[in-house]
Symmetry: C2
Subunit: 244 residues, 2 copies
């Protein structure tokens, strides 16, 4: 019999595990029994169990740690894109432990695509490219790519980039941003990104793109973020100007 | 050999189809060849083809129409949650055709959960519950649940609800909302929701929740939205008040 991706069997297992989580066994950040034990308990194949777990992973209820097994997801971090507060600050403010890990930092010409995206006059404009991974407690939750105009913050690569970029720019370069254009949608992660975020390749992610403007309203930084789907909740308040 | 959900075979097929889309064959809203034809072309099983297509569906590159086959996704609608503009307006403004279909509308007591969420004084408070499905061009893209205080807009059920609720409230009840608290994250759809949105059960969706406040800053409406993952892009501009 061919494998049916819509088979109800893995859905029943998914429901049982979701019920266990809802009733607190295991609790947030606690480990599930091994796959072998769960296979025995549910009387299913490894394929079916994996389907149920990957479904729960997509829903943000469970996560996997390389070689350690499956865990219950902790609460989502709340991020308000209308505020200026940076990752290190809003994660701490929610009682969690943020960490930033700089994976790569280099100076290169902008290139055609980025020059167009940032409205630069030349694609040879020197730009700092950073790739950073950010953690909440013991989970990697976010991959961030930043491209910053070198002329706006020369010598950036000499600074410690395993921390808040907002703070480095402010304290070392006296730079602040005036506004930001933001776009976000559901995306997926490729194999490298999946590895870094401990997700399955092709998992969904929250994709967030920001174009930041400097003091003279010139584009100074372009960011791309890939968030674990279960790590983030976007919150904001909107006041309506007397709608008529 | 057991089926391996991480097998590279469906990834190769996914890449070939993504390449075809990028090079314009087929184009937006055009149909792919039948599954039978694609199985022949790729020399794969139906299972593997479905995995590749479901991966592309999660990425928002393809969508399925019940009984008609697979299609290339059109461009995402851009929605700015900081503006008051309603679905019917912002979809039209982007050159697309919006449609609202009221599936259910009834008057019931709020119940314990909603009373707490809206800070109502009694769980017996009468509330209009609406369930609506919204379309862009020929695709259903959004399921919306609205709960409105009956005392705020009495007689709502007599109005035509296959249209903009914002407009009905304004024109028929002279009601406008003053502000809104919004939360969104990646969620999934259950079987009924999947059916209504023509998705696979367990597909990811953009989940959006809104608590709307009235003229006296009292909670008057609570909304839940489930968006097709490929239909929506959130865009906004943020101005930073002189960050120091």
């Amino acid at each position: 019999m061919p494998f049916d991706p819509l088979s109800p069997h893995y859905q029943r297992i998914r429901e049982q595990i979701a019920y266990d989580i809802a009733t607190g066994t295991p609790q947030a950040d606690e480990k599930f029994p091994s796959e072998r034990e769960m296979i025995e308990r549910f009387g299913c194949t490894r394929v079916t169990l994996r389907q149920a777990l990957q479904q729960l992973e997509a829903e943000g209820l469970v996560y996997r740690e390389n070689r350690r097994g499956w865990f219950v997801s902790p609460r989502r971090i709340r991020y308000d894109p209308t505020r200026i507060s940076g990752f290190m600050d809003y994660v701490s403010a929610q009682g969690r432990t943020p960490r930033t890990e700089c994976l790569q930092a280099e100076l290169r010409p902008a290139g055609a695509w980025l020059a167009r995206r940032m409205s630069l006059s030349s694609e040879d404009e020197p730009v700092f490219f950073l790739q950073r991974r950010r953690w909440i407690d013991r989970r990697p939750v976010l991959l961030e790519f930043n491209a910053l105009l070198a002329s706006w913050c020369p010598g950036l690569l000499d600074a410690d980039l395993n921390t808040s970029l907002t703070r480095v720019l402010r304290e070392r370069f006296s730079r602040v941003q005036s506004r930001c254009e933001l776009e976000m949608h559901i995306g997926t992660v490729n194999e490298d990104q999946a590895e870094l975020l401990q997700l399955s390749p092709g998992s969904t992610s929250v994709y967030l793109e920001r174009l930041n403007f400097g003091e003279e309203d010139q584009a100074v930084e372009f960011d791309q973020e890939f968030w674990r789907p279960d790590a983030l909740s976007i919150v904001m308040e909107t006041r309506y100007p007397g709608k008529t």
